[in-house]
Amino acid sequence: MDTPEGLSVRVLWAIGVIYALLIAASLIVAIMKRRGPSEATSELSRRVTSWWFMITIFTIAIVTNRIVSTVFLGLMAFLAFKEYLSLIPTRRIDRLIVLFAYLAIPVQFIFAHQDRYGLFLTFIPVWMFLFFPIAMTLAGKTEGFLRAVGTLSWGMMITVFALSHTAMLLGAGDKAGPAGGAGLLLFLVALTQFNDVAQFTWGKLFGKRKITPTVSPNKTWEGFLGGLATTAVVAALAGPFLTPLSMPWAGLAGAMIAVSGFFGDVTISAFKRDLGVKDSGGLIPGHGGILDRVDSLIYAAPVFYHAMHFFVFSGRIS
């Protein structure tokens, strides 16, 4: 069996808390909508409705079993990669190479599922990285070569490779702590998304000083620091329950998730701004595309996984 110890009841408790927060958010938005109906409040309401769907799908994916969880995470990476490829300029001659890039997704997630750390780390950054340019060279068209190989490799890294770290967390086994790999995954994903909402809310309430006016004018120092502090506190409280981390280390992990999540968010904003699009797609009402939703996770997942691997799974801190 994949999870001999079964799903930890701690994961179910944490999901219960998330649903309680969701109900609270729905009530607050419903009251806001009744007091002052506007385009902004109905947008907020669409967002909360989408949160219900996303959290429910994610819940089903992580409580069923590890295979379902990994397939779900792979599907998320596929949708993100497809959205990326559909937005960027591509060359007709590269169609088959793009198909091979898609086929690398199941391979990468199988390596993650089998917890093959070495293959997981080298498959995309080494092997696919070397494969794309030679395949394009043999196809024979040099016009636009650098752009094609650069954008395909970067897209594969930022979507598939980065997001596949979520699936690696599930394979941490007995080092994963009291709530298992699913607990670590829930800790990472819930805090990343919570941090997005916290930074958004602090920014809306107190935002003044812009951090990156040319890239993402809505991001302010007040929002960033308020979100960072809130996420660190929530992480310190949730960490000992869901992860092997003690309270201070869990708080630090939360701060790390907040900072890296912010970096992911603004990086995808820069990418979209370069292409002249506001949203990466229309998959999730009120949110945009899948890249708009997982942008923070693109940075937070590798940073959190590798920090856990180096410091915690190795026993350097406990």
Partner: protein, 211 residues
């Protein structure tokens, strides 16, 4: 029987593929016709164009939706003809002036309250490049001047399955529907209005080159 096969084909095969393997971003869905008769006019890049347009409507509307397709291509062999006529539900169009009024079947379909799907480029052509619209659509609009004409711009399916390829590569597609308009009295003006509409719809997206 084929009616149920058609619904099953769309519910079990076409829609899941469009949802997961392809993925659609639809804009202006409210402009699509809710009842027939109506004429949908779209640009053409891929066999997937027809399936995508059919999938935009609820399954119960399927019997009324009739993609107009070239008889010489789709009726060329028995198996393809059966599939095209019964599952896709095409209305075959004779190309090259064989009949006295080549549009007679189309006019009859409109009189039955059906929704015609037309690709006036005539062929899928070079993927993701628009070709000039042929004027047959103007003659049809003239014959049934009360029928609303709905312009729809499609982008991305030519990348997923271009003419000449049998391998589907996943790409998201964009479908942008515009407000309907009617026959105004002159064919050149009608064609010009149609071209302007399509260019305007295409301009609503930020589409990168595919070369």
């Amino acid at each position: 029987m084929s009616r149920y096969l058609r619904i099953a084909f769309f519910a079990i095969i076409v829609r899941p593929i469009l949802l997961i393997v392809l993925g659609m971003n639809v804009r202006g869905r409210e402009h699509l016709p809710k009842t027939g008769p109506a004429i949908i006019v779209a640009n053409h890049n891929s066999h997937l164009d027809t399936l995508t347009l059919l999938a935009l409507f609820p399954l119960r509307d399927l019997p009324r939706l009739r993609p107009v397709a070239a008889a010489d291509y789709f009726l060329s062999n028995k198996l393809l003809a059966w599939f095209a006529l019964n599952i896709i539900g095409i209305l075959p169009l004779e190309r090259g002036g064989v009949k006295k009024n080549p549009l007679a079947d189309l006019e009859a379909a409109l009189d039955r309250g059906e929704i015609l799907i037309l690709f006036p480029e005539g062929s899928r052509g070079e993927p993701e490049q628009r070709a000039d619209f042929k004027r047959g659509v103007a003659f049809l609009a003239r014959a049934r001047p009360q029928t609303p004409v709905h312009p729809v711009f499609i982008h991305g399916l030519g990348k997923a399955l271009p003419k000449g390829s049998a391998i589907l590569v996943p790409f998201n597609c964009d479908v942008i529907a515009g407000a309907p308009f009617q026959w105004q009295g002159k064919a050149p003006e009608f064609m010009e209005a149609l071209e302007t509409q399509m260019t305007m719809l295409a301009g609503q997206g930020q589409f990168q080159p595919w070369d």
